[in-house]
Symmetry: C2
Subunit: 322 residues, 2 copies
């Protein structure tokens, strides 16, 4: 009889640290869990100091480095995934300098996925103010031979956090957009597509995308790919696809980063990754995930499950000193 596969981590199982300024990065953890069901994850949301999106590079670098050090020094993470576009854009160097473990951001994987998806080589990016102002996506895309046009969409994060979405988030690898969400707990209370709140969110997305597409036309671009450059945006994916003209493919950088993590970590810890994502393995109570936040534990618990697609469990409070 062969040994049955076990999903229980052993003492040898490496710990993967996942960091975000808030809980949006739980969409990255969700995508990681689907691909590495046997890993042990520690997630830190620096909720006391969010949003990073409106802060300066200097401030973001300091906050992100402190957060990375908590995950590595105190939680013994052996890999770090920076599940925060703003920190990946503005502070990846600072984080790599602050900790002695491999660090993966979300920008480079997002750009690589766009490169793989685009036929015209012309790509649109939507993100927070700070991510756009950093031009990190443009730089990463240009290095791969893509032309880009970026747009900041500051209202989308608050709309997601207010819950004015359909919550029909499914990662591309887990199923088609519009498929049933994992678990039914959240879908029971989520808004219908025809609710006035969802209509507002769709209209906001249309205003942003219409401006972006008009701008692309004015620049003579023929974009065929849109990169979601913020970890909150996967929850808006069905509405974004509804607002887009046909022929534009949506790339989710949370998904792309999880895919890149599998490739990176497989060389070091092959048994962690399954060959294909396993939605079933992510259902039910969290077994090998520990979440920490620097503030707003209640809000983290309340909203986090929508991003993770299952209950986040007990959230530890961490004081990083301001």
């Amino acid at each position: 009889m062969t040994q049955p596969e076990s999903s229980t981590p052993t003492n040898d199982t490496p710990t993967i640290g996942v960091f975000d300024s808030g809980f949006g990065g739980l969409t990255v953890l969700r995508a990681l869990l689907a691909r590495m069901p046997r890993a042990r994850f520690v997630f830190l949301g620096d909720t006391a100091r969010l949003p990073y999106g409106s802060k300066s590079r200097r401030t973001i670098a300091r906050y992100a480095a402190e957060s990375a050090q908590f995950l590595v020094r105190e939680q013994r993470a052996e890999f770090l995934v920076i599940a925060c576009n703003t920190a990946s854009a503005l502070a990846l160097d600072a984080i790599q300098a602050a900790v002695p473990v491999p660090v993966l951001g979300v920008i480079q994987p997002g750009a690589a996925a766009a490169r793989a998806a685009s036929r015209t080589g012309e790509v649109l990016v939507i993100a927070t103010d700070a991510t756009v102002q950093s031009h990190a996506y443009s730089a990463a895309c240009h290095a791969l031979g893509l032309r880009t046009l970026e747009k900041a969409c500051p209202l989308l994060v608050p709309l997601v956090e207010e819950g004015w979405t359909t919550d029909l988030y499914t990662s591309t690898r887990m199923g088609a957009p519009g498929a049933s969400p994992l678990g039914t707990r959240e879908s029971d209370t989520s808004l219908q597509i025809d609710a006035p709140q969802v209509a507002v969110t769709l209209e906001v997305i249309r205003i942003y995308l219409d401006e972006l597409l008009a701008d692309a036309k004015a620049h003579g671009l023929q974009p065929d790919t849109l990169v979601l450059g913020c970890t909150h945006y996967p929850l808006l994916r069905p509405l974004i696809q509804k607002a887009l003209p046909p022929g534009i493919r949506v790339i989710d950088s949370a998904d792309a980063a999880a895919e890149a993590a599998v490739h990176l970590f497989n060389g070091r810890a092959a048994p962690l990754a399954s060959d294909s994502p396993s939605p079933e393995s992510t259902a039910g109570a969290p077994a090998h995930i520990r979440c920490f936040a620097t503030d707003s534990v209640e809000k983290f618990q309340r909203l986090g499950s929508r991003f993770l697609g299952r209950p986040v469990g007990q959230v530890g409070l961490v004081d990083l000193g301001g």
Copy 2:
């Protein structure tokens, strides 16, 4: 010949410190300037750590106390106006304990103005999450014999900061809603009332107010007064009034706080206050205002003038240590 009135502060002119987590409190400074054109003002926006609205009482109290100490110890403010509903709601005691000068918040003046305005004694309050969860407005209103119903409206601050407003802000003492804004610099670039962005903001306000009014009806309340419990909301006043049924009066706590400040400070520094607000004295370049921010000086300068109704001038960067 009598000495002509001078608007130039002398060495004897006291300095009034005005504090907010961001730049929304500039609506309070605007209302103060209209009433005390001869005072010297120092404004601090703790922009590195905003928004306070989503943070815990403990964190807010620490941030607010540090900010107050900067204004009193380093800028020698002799009075403090806490132009931040969240900090007034959650940290007024902590601030009063941290500095040896008189401290005025915005909650109590807002409640007093509602008491003066309401005939039914039943009042609605809209504010941020943290302000509502503190129930500080309810407590202050109940102490004055009012019944209240509060509602958090988390999308309104980002909508104002995105500029999806008409920017027709005028304080009640300066003129009727819909009157020309002070100065023409901002109105040149502001959105028209029929812009799709403004339609979105109006729809968001309608959704929030409809929920609040339905809730009031379910509670058997007959509210005749709505308190704007957030310093960003005065910029939405024309849209809020458009969304409200007739017969509900809008109370702006920024205005109410400035009025209370005049009464408080007149006893100590009578010559500072003019008998009536003087819109003219607030036009043109800032003469006796110095603004500081803990981060995002560029954003402060760009958005601040919309709240202050005139250019904010050079903004100093302050490091409060996290």
